[in-house]
């Protein structure tokens, strides 16, 4: 064959070979894309399952069953001396009023055992409800009021989820049926969940104590770790000489970011509580421990943000006769802000969900009062979830899921805030 024909044939063969390989390549690309898509779908599936399981178990915690009773505010029980003094009004036996009202609603109940079963339909928290009403307006003493009182958690669970595994006896169920027939049984929005602290009685338990505790802890963590972290990053990046000592510091900071969080809890126990004798279980100590934990994250993110500022801006500032400090604070820092803020908020969102270190410093106790300051004993939301999850009472199951929902909402809000802040700063400097 002539050279020309040989060349043409060879070219044709080459082209065919390329076309064949193209088919293989396209198949491989498609398989890879499918794999990627499958991975994403699997992730979404698990996410969906998680949300579904949490929400389906938790949404019922946001409503509370109430029983309507006619309460007679008997002056002999509430204010026997007639002086309307605060001590008398506080100390009065409001429970008797509830029991009287129940007996009046079900006059056929005579035997003591049955009466006890009847009284158990209404929550012990109803006494506090009545107490608050009288304290707010002593004028109702002597009057009859139709009031909605919190039902006991057994009634609550039965009414929301049915007879399955209910602890109520047949007689109690019959009474409830009667109440229902009289339209004296309803569910309403559970404000207790948000306004009350933790309690042994599930129907009265709320997350307020935990939320306030978390708030104080995050406040302290933010207030300490952000300035310290940013300042450390600025020093290490801009002012520190490059020698073995600063290299050593940098290696250690990177390693600290990977240390398990419970170790920080042990450190907090040993140093803050045993050595400095700070109050146990206080948000102050919790905040200090979480500061140590968040600091490496913030330093690393801030340094990366500082490094990303172009050297041309620095040179322009120095060329104008700005001192190094002026260059850093007037020019570099504003440009590095978006990255720093994002890193800070991610670190804080992590801190919000931390449980292990706080368990070690004692924020796991059963705290009923809502903490008023940073040195009062408190608990945080993740720990509250852990405590409720541990509890054997069925009513706490839905509360656990509801608290998880609240925590997730906070985390999502924080992350959205970080994204919004970052967008806002980026637009200004572009």
């Amino acid at each position: 064959m002539s050279d020309l024909i040989k060349a043409t044939v060879k070219r044709g063969q080459v082209r065919e070979a390329i076309e064949q390989s193209l088919i293989r390549r396209r198949k491989r690309n498609r398989r890879f894309r499918m794999l990627g898509l499958a991975a994403v779908m699997l992730g979404m599936l698990f996410l969906g399952m998680m949300f579904f399981s949490i929400i389906s178990k938790g949404y019922s915690a946001f409503v509370l069953t109430e029983i309507q009773l006619e309460i007679y505010f008997d002056a002999e029980i509430v204010d026997p001396e007639g002086a309307r003094s605060r001590e008398a009004l506080t100390a009065a036996a409001y429970g008797k009023l509830v029991k009287n009202a129940l007996r009046k609603a079900f006059p056929q109940v005579r035997k003591r055992k049955e009466k006890r079963k009847l009284y158990r339909l209404v929550s012990t928290g109803a006494e506090q409800q009545l107490r608050e009403l009288v304290q707010k307006d002593p004028g109702i003493i002597g009057t009859r009021q139709k009031l909605w009182l919190t039902a006991d958690d057994d009634v609550d669970q039965y009414y929301k989820h049915g007879e399955n595994q209910s602890r109520l006896k047949a007689q109690q169920l019959a009474w409830l049926a009667q109440l229902r027939a009289r339209d004296a049984l309803r569910t309403s929005f559970n404000t207790n969940f948000f306004s009350a602290g933790d309690s042994r009685e599930p129907e009265l338990a709320g997350i307020r104590g935990a939320v306030v505790g978390s708030f104080f802890v995050i406040l302290i963590t933010l207030g300490l770790s952000l300035p310290l972290g940013v300042a450390a990053a600025i020093y290490l990046e801009e002012f520190a000489p490059r020698n073995r000592w600063t290299d050593f510091v940098e290696i250690n900071i990177n390693n600290l970011a990977a240390v398990p969080s419970i170790v920080f809890g042990l450190l907090g126990l040993a140093v803050y509580i045993n050595f400095f004798e700070l109050p146990r279980s206080a948000p102050l100590v919790g905040g200090l421990v979480l500061t140590l934990m968040t600091l490496p994250t913030i330093i690393i993110a801030s340094r990366a943000a500082l490094k990303s500022v172009p050297p041309s801006i620095r040179e322009a500032a120095l060329g104008m006769g700005a001192s190094k400090m002026q260059m850093v604070f007037h020019h570099v820092l504003p440009l590095a802000m978006p990255g720093m803020l994002t890193g800070a908020i991610i670190g804080l969102a992590q801190a919000l969900g931390e449980t292990a270190p706080l368990l070690m410093i004692g924020m796991v106790a059963f705290i009923v009062d809502v903490p008023a300051g940073i040195t009062d004993p408190a608990t945080v939301l993740p720990v509250q979830i852990y405590l409720w999850a541990d509890s054997p009472e069925r009513a706490f199951t839905e509360k656990t899921s509801a608290a998880i929902m609240v925590l997730l909402v906070f985390l999502v809000l924080m992350n959205l805030f970080a994204i919004w802040l970052r967008r806002k700063f980026e637009r200004r400097w572009d």
Binding site: R242, S312, I313, R314, E315, A316, A317, L318, G319, M320, G321, A322, S323, Q326, H330, H331, L335, W429, D430
Partner: protein
Amino acid sequence: MLAVEQKEAFMSVVETRAGEPDSMKMDELSIENTIGKPLLEKKISMHCREVDVFYGDKQAIFDVSLDIGKNEVLAMIGPSGCGKSTFLRCLNRMNDTIASCQVTGSIRLDEEDIYDPKRDVELLRARVGMVFQKPNPFPKSIYENIAYGPRIHGLTRDKVELDEIVENSLVRAGLWKEVKDRLDDVGTGLSGGQQQRLCIARAIAINPEVILMDEPCSALDPIATAVVEELIDELRQRYTIVIVTHSMQQAARVSQRTAYFHLGRLVEVDKTDKIFTNPGHSLTEAYITGRFG
């Protein structure tokens, strides 16, 4: 290639092409052997004597002595890597930002040694301004770009004075008409040529004595370049300008004296037209006739 090999290879090119070997070897270039007028008698803005610059162990500038006259435009030309930018950056101590860089010798601004550790480098940089190769306005408003210098050096008492300084600087930089209605727009939103003029306006806002320009037009299109060159000519009346340029034509257009640098040494410095029509040293001649670049 090492500097030594480069030198030898290059010398052989000069020898073959020029026809006769150059009698002056590279290592003998010093203040006595630098051709032309490195030292001036008339009014001087900055003098440099026996300046050496080292980056770690590597020496970049060898024994350069040069005077810069008041209100003149001095162009520094030479092939890539010959040290012009390094030398320029010594004049306002910008090389201090590079950790391994060491400068020896004396550089004086108005009889004061600028490397004296007792002197503030910020004050020096306020008197010797710099315009960089790639325009780098601050990502702030046009007004803020110009106002920054006067503000940090405490040159104004109130907003009225500051407004005046901003307007004067923009007028002198030939940018006022184009931006006077949008002083609050961000500086980085301007075109390349406008950004460079903004950088020049920013440099003159603090009323320096000397303006150093490091290839100011290399990132600009020809029209913007022409505008900036015209500006340099006007600025000469108030300021001393030292401009590093890669373009010989630009040096011929804007400067009164031109200095030719080669491999870290000052080879020749003289009036611009003499350098380009009748250079004294064969290396200068080889460069300007395009035998190497």
